[in-house]
């Protein structure tokens, strides 16, 4: 089979993994090689679905001995199979990189023969890049579930980032939809990577990530975010990615969705930011009696409306973390407010002058004791319908697909975490 044909097949089957970030590594171009990593990542292009193309994202092969129900590459699917040789992978990567098409390689694979054999092949491709071509650009590799520690070690020393996708947010779903994957075959390597990263600076220097599929199984937002919180805390994950389920296979255990649940995916990303940058805990946002976000609101607004007794917050007095909890006030605005109020009392006017966006915030704050309207407006039902009204406009505004700029967090992710007005 021609390389061009292989590339079509193996890019096509790799595209459902949403992570693409090329950030977090500070690999330098040493020993007169080619390439370096940029700490904040670089986007090279954007595909028609609006996602950043930063890495050449391919599978080594889409043949697989496993039969995960949701996966296009499962053994029981009758699809065309292809397999790159390690040399072919290295050549495409180098030639794309020289032309500045890409920032590096994201290599994953179906499982051939057994997990370790597959890992061996991945290592070989990457080793040609690193040792023969002296490639110092970014490489992200997927670890194969069930791989041995030896192989994880070997791969980990060659790459910048590693990931093992959990994909299914509960044990039950895993059993049902990924019958060949043991929970431990996923969690053990994660733990091992976490511990090794701590000991060896050269091992997976940009850390590990994972991905969860949203909407293929019945888990609630509460369950999903709790899992993510655990991943950040216990496993030291750099990122948890959420991927709206795209129905590819027919199976009795899979829901028949017309469209991938993109809006829900977006809300989970927003909530994820609240966990990572805004000091929220999952149990602040959701609990047993409130298991899912109201998709029509952003999660912070949803939280605020469930916790009206925290509000209104006095802009001239509230501490930094209290300000951050106000819908519409992001990290940047909170900092601006903290700095400016040292010099003078803040009013709605002065906030506007400082370019603090008040669209959502105004419902939840007072400035020097004053509310923006008559205090009878301070009522969760009224505010909720006003917010949903604004949000709707935003959503309808964008033809039939939901306009989600938060779609795939990449470089922008970092920027928006700092400046984002959530």
């Amino acid at each position: 089979m021609e390389v061009a044909e292989k590339l079509k097949i193996l890019a096509d089957s790799a595209k459902y993994d949403v992570s693409c970030s090329s950030s977090g590594s500070d690999r330098k171009n040493t020993d007169k090689g080619i390439g370096n990593a940029s700490l904040c990542g670089i986007c090279h292009s954007f595909s028609a679905d609006g996602r950043c193309i930063s890495l050449l994202k391919i599978l080594m092969t889409n043949s697989c001995i496993y039969d995960c129900k949701y996966c296009i590459n499962r053994a029981s699917n009758n699809i065309q199979r292809a397999c790159f040789t390690p040399q072919e992978i290295a050549d495409i990567t180098i030639n794309f990189y020289r032309r500045n098409y890409i920032e590096g390689l994201f290599l994953s694979s179906g499982i051939i023969k057994n997990p370790d054999y597959t890992m061996e092949m991945l290592c070989e491709a990457i080793s040609i890049l690193r040792n023969k071509y002296h490639f110092n650009g970014y490489i992200h590799a997927k670890t194969i579930p069930g791989a041995s520690q030896d192989m994880i070690n070997k791969l980990g020393l060659l790459v910048d980032r590693m990931s093992i996708n959990i994909e299914l947010p509960s044990n039950q779903s895993l059993k049902l939809l990924a019958p060949n994957k043991e929970k431990d075959a996923i969690l053990e390597p994660m733990k091992y990577i976490k511990n090794t990263v701590k000991q060896d600076r050269k091992f997976v220097r940009a850390g590990q990530t994972t991905q969860l599929i949203i909407g293929a199984t019945p888990e609630s937002d509460f369950k999903i975010l709790s899992l993510a919180e655990g991943m950040y805390g216990k496993m030291n994950m750099k990122r948890v990615y959420y991927s709206a389920y795209v129905p590819l296979n027919h199976d009795d255990h899979l829901p028949a969705l017309k469209k991938p649940p993109l809006l829900r995916e977006n809300r989970l990303y927003q909530a994820d930011w609240l966990l990572r940058f805004y000091g929220f805990k999952v149990e602040d946002l959701l609990d047993d009696s409130h298991q899912n976000f109201n998709e029509l609101l952003d999660p912070k607004a949803d939280w605020a409306l469930h916790n009206m007794d925290y509000f209104p917050v006095e802009i001239n007095k509230a501490d930094y973390y209290t300000l951050l909890r106000v819908p519409g006030i992001g990290v940047l605005s909170a900092k601006k407010i903290m700095a400016a109020r040292k010099h003078h009392k803040l009013t709605f006017e002065s906030l506007k002058k400082m370019r603090v966006v008040l669209k959502r915030a105004k419902y939840f704050i007072t400035c020097d004791g004053k509310y923006f309207a008559s205090t009878s407006f301070f009522n969760s039902n009224l505010i909720s319908s006003a917010l949903i009204h604004d949000e709707r406009k935003l959503l309808i505004d964008s033809t039939d697909t939901v306009q989600l700029s938060l779609f795939e967090p990449t470089t922008k992710d970092r920027v928006e975490c700092i400046t984002g007005q959530l």
Binding site: D12, A48, G50, L56, F407
Partner: protein
């Protein structure tokens, strides 16, 4: 600036950084600032005004640069250099005010967010850096017959030195050329260092290598195949990668 007189006059400069710095020097000496500084080429005159051309004086400009480095900070120098590369027509005026304030407040100048020209200069510099960052991804090289790499682009701001610095590290074992087609400048790199020359002075016959078409086609196919149809969102694509950049992005052409 209390002991300064603002005079009702427009100063013109020749478009160079040295030109702007000469204006600064003149203003410092006369303790007078014009109500506007603008590049000669962009000046649209009117009947009632008699603009004053400030001629560029290299002694004056290097004196100002030294003073900024000594009395203010390297960061201020960075802002001066970077915002000068902007295509923003208001940059000279903003820079004049910025430098005068910088001499007054010293290294603290960049925290003085209540002064308009500080915000303005920082904003202009940020836009230049942002465009340079974007282009570090959007530049596309072609491989030529002799294995040299060649790229061309058009940009709003003069970001060629940023790009040349970036690729001198990243592609340090290649011989490459990066051609700014807006400003007719080209950076030439020889595995060791780069120089920037006027592109009209060199012969630019481009003969692509045998492999070029093959990899270009692979890349285009890859680009097509990576889209998830169920998630197609052209609007989002264009907001990240505005059409004005598409001219030199081969993957956007079928």
């Amino acid at each position: 600036m209390h002991h300064w007189t603002v005079i009702d006059c427009t100063y013109l400069y020749d478009g160079s950084l040295e030109g702007i710095l000469s204006v600064v020097y003149t203003c410092l000496k006369d303790k007078q600032i014009p109500n506007m500084v603008i590049e000669e080429e962009n000046y649209v005159g009117n009947l009632f005004e008699q603009p004053k051309m400030i001629s560029t004086n290299l002694d004056h400009s290097s004196y100002i640069l030294e003073q900024i480095q000594e009395k203010v900070s390297d960061l201020a120098l960075y802002y001066v250099y970077t915002s000068f590369l902007s295509s923003d027509k208001k940059k000279a005026n903003a820079l004049l005010h910025y430098i005068i304030y910088a001499f007054k407040y010293g290294f603290k100048i960049n925290q003085m967010k209540s002064i308009d020209c500080v915000i303005e200069v920082q904003r202009i510099a940020k836009n230049v850096k942002y465009e340079a960052h974007r282009f570090s991804g959007f530049i596309r090289f072609k491989e030529l017959e002799n294995k040299f790499l060649y790229a061309e682009y058009e940009s709003d701001n003069d970001i060629l030195t940023f790009l040349a610095d970036h690729f001198s590290d990243r592609l340090q074992q290649e011989i490459w050329m990066i051609h700014d087609k807006t400003r007719f400048q080209i950076a030439l790199y020889n595995r060791d260092e780069y120089i920037i020359v006027d592109s009209k002075t060199i012969d630019l016959t481009i003969i692509e290598s045998d492999q070029e078409d093959y990899y270009l086609q692979l890349w285009k196919d890859y680009f097509k195949n990576i889209t998830i149809k169920e998630r197609e969102n052209r609007r989002c694509q264009r907001s990240f990668m505005p059409k004005k950049y598409w001219k030199y992005l081969p993957e956007t052409k079928g």
